[in-house]
Amino acid sequence: MIEVDQVSYTYPAGTQALQDISVTIPEGDFVAIMGENGAGKTTLIKHFNGILKPERGRVRVDGVDTKDASVAELSRTIGLVFQNPDHQLFSETVEEEIAFGLRNFGFPEDEVAQRIDWTLRLLNLTQYRQTSPFLLSGGERKRVALATVLAWNPKTLVIDEPTIGQDYRQKERLRQFFAELRGQGRTVVFVTHDVEFVADCDPRVLLMYRGQILADGSAQQVLTNPEITAKASILLPQIAQLFHQLQDLGFPHEVLTVQEAKGLLEPVLPRGEAHEGL
């Protein structure tokens, strides 16, 4: 469990990134953090594993104050994947990249090998085992960065912008992968701008605005509310926009997926072949 209690944080240059923010993420939760560039999303998640320590207030991970633990200790339970994979990758091959963290945590060599196999398969990277991360595309490098963290199997995964550079199929894989992690009782927190991905994943949504939490609720509640999403520079998914426009015809406005939309429209629309020219 992650408990953020009245935390404020100001960067040395003077930007106040978090303002008296409180939020609790219980074990097994599945959370998307959204909001405009500069809203404080990345600053917040950097508090989860102690890279940043609160200036005021406190952050506790499983009851332990992050001020009383090292980043290395916290990272064993909270694996953080950065936004830009280039800040994280440095080894000559993908395999070495994944092995590095595992050896640091003192895993025996046979387990290092097993875990590398497992993670490469899981993230569809097996064919790149011996490739230099820098020859891969941005989307592939992002998956390598995720693999390095996933390999040591932290109880909580925190991922900054997992869908950047991922095509539709990779996003669909990622969604299934998140669902599997949830099934194992793991906590997954991700920062994203990708409203369609969030609509498909259906997580709890924390919407941030200027260092504070503007909304905290289900994807359906948050992503169908045009006032708060506009304030946070989020565009509503197309289906939510559509039903917002059709509200006066008596349709509900909290509609997020194509499936729900079809269920509402199909019974009331005319059927049969179109009569061209009539």
Binding site: G38, D167, V195, V258
Partner: protein, 282 residues
């Protein structure tokens, strides 16, 4: 219509790669077109962009066959810097592109390298900053800027060279949706007002299908679909290729498959809402 980009039977293999990344790509882009280039990762779209700006073959090496002609220059026979005066490139991450001490210096950099006169540099820089709406930031350091502002500076630095074609490789990856939309608005405006030819690589089809004139879908190093946005996105093959079809088009297809009678498909939510409204009121 005069074409600005002519690609004929282009195949390309990176050094030390066993398989070609591009396999027989042919396409013609007329002056003033606004093309969205998309496809699953590894399909070759970034490689194609590298060919358009001459990074392939001059920087990457490798084996290229076929022809790439941009603004009447064959990329094989002209240097990257000659080509840069006709075709500008905007990267995914503006941090890889900006390095000077001020926005103004960054935007002037390309022109200074071409040894243009001070008066011309000043004129072009002012024009580009103005078009991108960042005149007020001219003395700011790039690292002080927000992601959206940085990407505008990157576009301005390309614009200042007055290129015929602008190629942008996922320019909004690091931007929030509203900031991304603003950047697309500005780019559309450059296309409308100046007739600038735009080739844009993106996965955000729901946002872009209402902006662009044409969509090209690549897969496995080949062009698979090429046409007007609706024709491409509503094609069965587009679904099979696994590109993200915008929600309203998925809804349209799904309703029509179940024998609901709809009018023509729509590229924007507004159009689709208007159609539903009129069907319900008939």
């Amino acid at each position: 219509m005069a074409s600005i980009i002519d690609v004929k039977d282009l195949s390309y293999t990176y050094p030390n790669f066993a398989e070609p990344t591009l396999r027989g790509v042919s396409l013609t882009i007329p002056r003033g077109d606004f093309v969205l280039l998309t496809g699953p990762s590894g399909c070759g779209k970034t490689t194609l962009c590298r060919c358009l700006i001459g990074l392939i073959p001059h920087f990457y090496g490798g084996a290229l066959t076929g022809d790439v002609v941009v603004a009447n220059l064959s990329v094989k026979d002209h240097s990257i810097s000659e080509l840069a005066q006709h075709v500008g490139f905007v990267f995914q991450n503006p941090e890889n592109q900006l390095f000077a001490l001020s926005v103004e210096k960054d935007v002037a950099f390309g022109l200074e390298n071409l040894a243009k006169s001070r008066a011309e540099i000043r004129k072009n820089v002012d024009w580009a900053l103005d078009l991108m709406g960042i005149g007020g930031l001219r003395d700011a350091a790039p690292f002080e800027l927000s992601g959206g502002q940085k990407q505008r500076v990157a576009v301005a630095s390309v614009l200042a060279m007055k290129p015929d074609v602008m190629v942008l490789d996922e320019p909004t990856s690091f931007l929030d949706p509203v900031t991304a939309k603003r950047l697309f608005d500005v780019i559309k405006n450059l296309n409308d007002e100046l007739g600038l030819t735009v080739v844009l690589v993106e996965h955000r089809l729901s946002l872009l299908s209402a902006y662009v004139k044409r969509i090209i879908v690549m897969d496995e190093g080949q062009v698979r679909l090429d046409g007007a946005p609706l024709d491409v996105l509503m094609a069965k093959e587009a679904r099979a290729l696994g590109i993200g079809i915008p929600q309203i088009m998925q809804l349209h297809q799904s309703l029509v498959e179940d024998k609901v009678r709809l009018d023509k498909p729509a590229t924007s939510v507004d159009e689709f809402a208007a159609m539903i409204r009129s069907l319900l009121q008939r």
